[in-house]
Symmetry: C2
Subunit: 272 residues, 2 copies
């Protein structure tokens, strides 16, 4: 998009936890936080696991060639939030074995960080996010209610998740983050800490169906993510990013176009 | 962005009423409505009037050349929502006389619709939105409170808006929409209708400072805008737009990459 000003973007990449654009979702909170400073690009795909995320990434993330030619958004930061679906129990269609989940995360990181990758983007900062806890009873209840709302056709859904399994994926992501030297938001621990424990009643305010976050759950994530950004990538603190276009009160009323043209020349050197 | 899948976007263009990414704002509602179907690009600039909007538009909207070469987002729809600041009373820095406001709206429309324009984009559908009503007392109160919160330095703010003046701008936008055959969301009338009148108490739930909309105010706008889109541009009804990437349950587990590659080939003929 070198053809129009403002190509800087933050890409939120992942599954349904990322896909949400509801009130208080990660996307809404990030878009408000970066308002008039950076676009938020949501590339969340509900139900997807880390196996499927790789071919999807190769489509939604610009190649090095495209970016260097100025044909693509400039992704300053990407959040990679996968694991919740990988952690479905063996035999479930979304299940990805733990070792492959780990190697998939490494592949995704290397697609961005390895100079030999077609998607090499050294200026894209990476933040991993691990799987949050689940409330097993609420999740199976929500599945059955959905099945009933569609006329109870087909086999009645059974439990397809296990909190201990999910926890092992959450811990694996932390391991990979350390190994690959990529910062991670440990949302599993952040929610358990604020909830005061892993009990169903303790976790209840943070999940609306035992798996997906409420606004309160996303608030915990946003607090941790924004703190991590300011700590690890201070140049991406929104207060450090110039506001797009001057404040209206700074426009020279005698020659308003001047203010806007300066921005144009400053930011679009590679423009058509 | 021909370099990465999914370049279709809806651009929300205007002033602070557009800029908001808060819970329940126009942007949040549109992003949720078009989730996984079309990106919402917010190009709202608080305090801006229609004079300043023209040079800004020329930066944020891609040229025909860039778009045809595949270097730019494909803006399927643009909302142009200006007038609230133009309608500040004469002598105020944001004031744009009514006749120039009207000719500026025409200029913006022609920048998109005229084949001779560098920004010609025949596939970009346009929706105008007019200025909503204001609550004069609440607005001046909010200005004074803001001034006090910054230590009461400089001259105490006075009233800079007049509901009857704003109404004349709202009516002028309707006139221009008819003349230019562009659909308009008459948010002035929509809010007055749902409020049951133009009285301060009647309008109160829809404005948090007498000028800017609450979530309830944006709900009225979103209802009218989504109905207008379905009526006038049915191809932009989100239910008519294919979901990005297949539903996870439709992925062929034996050959998952196939599903994603099909999307790639289908959508990115002009890719690098």
């Amino acid at each position: 998009m070198a053809s129009a000003a403002y190509t800087d973007a933050i890409m939120l990449f992942g599954d349904s936890l990322t896909q949400a654009w509801t009130d208080g979702s990660l996307s809404q909170r990030m878009a408000e936080y970066y308002s008039r400073r950076c676009d938020i690009v949501n590339r969340g795909f509900g139900g997807y696991n880390s196996d499927w995320a790789i071919p999807v990434f190769e489509q939604v993330f610009a190649t090095r060639e495209a970016r260097e030619k100025g044909y693509a958004q400039n992704v300053k930061l990407i959040t990679i939030w996968l694991g919740a679906n990988d952690a479905t129990i063996p035999g479930e269609p979304q299940c990805v074995p733990l070792d492959r989940y780990k190697s998939n995360l490494v592949k995704l990181i290397k697609l961005i960080k390895e100079p030999s990758s077609a998607y090499y983007s050294p200026d894209t900062k990476i933040v991993l996010i691990n799987a949050p806890p689940i409330i097993e009873n609420d999740w199976v209840k929500a599945r059955v209610e959905k099945w009933e709302s569609f006329g109870s056709t087909g086999p009645k859904p059974e439990q397809n998740r296990d909190k201990r399994v999910t926890k092992s994926y959450a811990e694996a992501a932390i391991e990979i983050a350390k190994e690959q030297q990529v910062p991670i938001v440990d949302i599993w621990t952040a929610i358990v800490d604020v909830a005061g424990g892993e009990g169903d009643d303790q976790l209840a305010p943070y999940f609306y169906d035992g798996l997906h976050l409420t606004s309160e759950g996303y608030a915990v994530l946003f607090k941790a993510l924004s703190a991590l950004i300011i700590d690890r990538y201070p140049e991406l603190d929104p207060e450090q990013i110039p506001m797009r276009m001057p404040h209206w009160a700074d426009v020279d009323l005698g020659n308003p176009r001047e203010a806007f043209n300066k921005v144009k020349q400053g930011r679009l050197a590679g423009e058509l």
